[in-house]
């Protein structure tokens, strides 16, 4: 089968296997959603608190670097030894993948939130939690969301590895060439890519809704010229996915 015909056949494949594709899309989203959700629950409070205290920047950056350096397939292999095959295994591996961008972006966003505004808030007698949630968090939202979006794309496009460890999702089609042929792989790949792009767009839309009006342009400005090392690190991190 030539590559061209495989690309052409991928569209009939979609109509013939629509039930399978939809079923595995649901599984794919369930898996990715669980991983991103758990990563948020772990990384966001940590990033918020450390950023607010301006402590642990060294720890955060190194934790993120180590997390990013772990090859996902190797993590899955190690987890096969520890927890065996299935949902738990792949969720843990994807959480490991999702934490670094969320953690660093949240930390840097809060740590760098306008220090003068924070001092003014403290001087006016705002409590620490109010300063964090009502001054620092709104200012950090563009960065927090950038981290979330990066993680979402990583996780959705890496989730097909689940099929290697007895998990479900669109990977079930992608790793089974003998059953679904190249056209099936290509069809499933379109779907995964579409999910990742949709997740990115959805997060961008949510970000726009949540970001206070005057801050909506800040993010683009930040990307044109970085102001310090953390900007550079974040810009680079955004361009990396397994």
């Amino acid at each position: 089968m030539t590559i061209a015909s495989a690309f052409l056949d991928s569209f009939p494949f979609m109509s013939q296997h629509i039930g399978l594709l939809l079923h595995q899309t649901v599984n794919h989203l369930e898996l990715s959603g669980a991983a991103i959700g758990i990563a948020c629950v772990i990384a966001m409070p940590l990033g918020l608190l450390l950023g607010h205290w301006h402590r642990g920047g060294f720890l955060v950056i190194n934790l993120a670097n180590v997390g990013r350096a772990l090859p996902t397939l190797a993590v899955i292999a190690l987890l096969l030894v520890v927890v065996g095959i299935g949902f738990t295994n792949i969720v843990i591996a994807l959480v490991v993948l999702a934490i670094p961008p969320i953690l660093t972006h949240t930390y840097v966003g809060i740590d760098r939130a306008d220090r003068d505004a924070v001092e003014a808030a403290r001087g006016m007698g705002m409590r620490e939690l109010a300063i964090l949630l009502r001054v620092e968090l709104p200012l950090a939202l563009p960065l927090v969301f950038a981290g979330l979006r990066t993680s979402a794309v990583f996780v959705i496009s890496t989730a097909p590895l689940a099929a290697l460890a007895g998990g479900e999702g669109l990977g079930v089609i992608i790793v089974n060439e003998p059953s679904y042929r190249l056209s099936g792989i290509i069809a499933a790949t379109y779907w995964v890519a579409a999910l990742a792009v949709l997740a990115e767009l959805g997060a961008a839309l949510l970000q726009r809704t949540l970001t206070p009006a005057p801050l909506r342009r800040q993010h683009t400005r930040e990307q044109t010229r970085p102001d310090d090392a953390s900007d550079v690190a974040l810009a680079v991190m955004r361009g990396a996915a397994p």
């Binding site: 496009s157 097909p160 290509i186 990742a196 970085p226």
Partner: protein, 263 residues
């Protein structure tokens, strides 16, 4: 046999180890005997192949990205198309890309390298452009005012400013490539992914999983560590920044450096 063929081969087979020690036959957590008898025949070659795959991919990726990045920095073109391409390529699962390339470029190293280089390009491109753009306008203006030529400005000012970002990008590119290269073994028997798929085919043979995965993790951490050392050598001012002590803005320190360099 590639991982693809192994997985497609139907029933996972617990290998018949003959008079193998009971650890092997009972799939014990880690069988030293089996490991030490396979270091030279399996793990060392796989590790070397993995390093080779990574170094080739990152070197080619670096050279291509550099050309594109300098062009983009000078002309301000290519920026948004590349960023868009970036988003789309990263949305494609690597395990699918490797398979889709097979009919085009075969089951050899070429297929693996094309995919690996593609994934490094965008990280490196982005970091280079970001780095070059981190030169503050006033520094460029004063350099022009001092009579430096465009070439001198590039070598003495723009490149040093870009070094931290480029090294940061290199770190990401290297660890990402190491990670993706394990998946490459799904289509071609190369690198540390090969024993991982082999272990899956043997009915999840734990010793092989632990040995191969640990080597892959260790390789990524060691390479990342080496690049940190490289970063400290090329851009010593970055170390102070991550330690949080020195609150002097990063650009201020770079500016000092650039000014002293221009003298």
């Amino acid at each position: 046999m590639s991982g693809l063929q192994r997985l497609a081969g139907g029933q996972p087979v617990i290998p018949n180890f003959g008079q193998a020690p009971s650890c092997d036959t009972h799939n014990g957590t880690f069988c030293w005997g089996w490991f030490s008898s396979h270091v030279h025949s399996l793990f060392l070659p796989a590790l070397l192949q993995h390093i080779e795959l990574t170094v080739i991919a990152v070197t080619i990726g670096f050279a291509i990205s550099f050309v594109f990045a300098v062009f983009t920095y000078r002309t301000r073109m290519l920026d948004s198309p590349v960023t868009l391409l970036n988003g789309i390529l990263y949305a494609i699962p690597a395990i699918a890309l490797f398979q889709i390339l097979v009919p085009l470029t075969g089951l050899g190293i070429l297929t693996i390298e094309i995919a690996l280089v593609a994934y490094t390009l965008l990280v490196l491109f982005r970091s280079m452009v970001t780095g070059l753009r981190s030169v503050p306008p006033d520094v460029l203006e004063s350099a022009q005012g001092m009579g430096l030529t465009t070439r001198q400005i590039f070598v003495k000012i723009e490149l040093p400013f870009a070094v931290p970002a480029i090294v940061a990008g290199l770190r990401v590119a290297v660890v990402t490539t190491i990670s993706l290269a394990t998946i490459a073994a799904f289509v071609t028997d190369k690198g540390l992914g090969m024993p991982i798929f082999d272990a899956m085919q043997r009915g999840n043979f734990k010793t092989e999983f632990i040995a191969a995965a640990s080597l892959a993790v260790a390789l990524a951490l060691v390479m990342d560590g080496l690049l940190v050392v490289l970063q400290r050598v090329l851009a010593p001012w970055i170390a102070a920044d991550t330690q949080q002590r020195d609150r002097t803005p990063f650009t201020t320190r770079l500016r000092r450096l650039a000014v002293s360099d221009a003298r």
